[in-house]
Symmetry: C3
Subunit: 176 residues, 3 copies
């Protein structure tokens, strides 16, 4: 399947190390627009720091990176422009941050979906981890997280022009 970036919102879902970020970056770079990376991950330990460094290296120099652990809607509002392609990587880390800070997760997710549903001035790609296809976690917070993630993916997919599922680096079109 060949994939091109459309106007509006593109959601890229996939598992751990499925190649979803790399696909998102290729789509952004192929658009010819100025790529802006909204990084939701925080380097709270060495493992996370290594992942962030690896992603940053792969993206190369053309990208502008903005760290957005929490206020994602405002950042998309600032950065989405006709000459920009905005890449949000990733929604699941943003959710983690919201939960750790005690933010009203459901309301913030709804606000994001509402913002994305309005006509944006430039293309936005959102990357997220599908986390709901394993055994029910024993940990209540993990179950909560997985519920929020599932609902968020449904809400974003409903307003997205394009939804792609990635496995083994290969895209499957779910929508658009």
């Amino acid at each position: 399947m060949s994939v091109a970036l459309g106007d509006g919102v593109t959601l890229i879902l996939g598992g751990a190390r499925s190649g979803k970020s790399a696909l998102a970056e290729r789509l952004a770079e192929a658009s010819g627009l100025a790529p802006v990376y909204l990084a939701t991950g925080r380097a709270f330990d060495a493992e996370m720091e290594a992942r962030i460094g690896e992603h940053r290296e792969r993206r190369g120099k053309g990208w502008r990176t903005v760290e957005v652990p929490l206020d994602l809607v405002a950042a998309i509002g600032r950065e989405a422009e006709p000459e920009h392609v905005v890449l949000v990587d990733c929604l699941t880390l943003w959710l983690t941050n919201l939960m750790m800070e005690g933010r009203p997760v459901a309301a913030e997710c709804q606000a994001l979906a509402d913002h994305l549903a309005a006509r944006l001035p430039g293309p936005v790609i959102l990357v997220s981890n599908e986390v709901g296809l394993g055994i029910v976690p024993e940990n209540a917070m993990a179950r909560d997280f997985r519920d929020h993630a599932g609902r968020l993916h449904q809400a974003v997919a409903a307003v997205a022009a394009k939804v792609i599922f990635v496995a083994a680096g290969l895209p499957m079109k779910l929508k658009g």
Copy 2:
């Protein structure tokens, strides 16, 4: 992808909060038949009670609900009729109940698949959680559960007219 309910058996697989029950309900309601909900979940704690209440509210008044924690084959036998559409939600909770009660799980799953393979007098939709795409669980009972679920999905899919995988609320056709 647009999806319509066919005759015979439809299996809807998906992750947690993937929108699989909502899709199943829409298909049932669009059929114009009288919808019967076979609920396998038991409200053994507040979390489960909240989920059941949420599903019940979404379904609205047109539905007749029958609680079927264990004797699913008999219930499908009673309820499947030309004027009914039967929705079983969900197989994974039924499996959980069988295991907790010490029932002969493999034999009961085979009996369900055999019953579904026979020509039923009306359409039956079965919803289930795909649980086999995460890391191997450390807990032996969870590994067992996941093996039973995988085998049950294969057996039901083999006799189903239609199999749909749902991610982020979006259907992918696996069969039919």
Copy 3:
């Protein structure tokens, strides 16, 4: 979807008890070539022994089985021939063995992908578990394993002629 074995490398991904090995065996048997089974699993406990026995019984007498817990590249080198179809079952158990033996996992995975990328004299089918679609594991070794598996799947998929995802015994074509 109907599936046939192509020349070159076929990767079959799926969850636990998804029917991926059975599909691989059917493809191999339908090829008319002499089937060689490269078994990476080691019977280190009764549960594993039962799984191995079950697979062996299903395959029947036409198969030659070679146990290859670690040196997979050499075994593929020896067994791939125009009159053979080689089935590797499965990559995730091979990864587990590499990790347990302290082998340089990333280098060995790269060597496998490089070997598969070279023109092989006969068809090779590789089966593997998708493990990255659940909640992030709490255990660091499980996270490591899942990262290695994801990267290995991407590398093998990139050089494969055909990639198939199996759910509930049903194939979805990802490539080829």
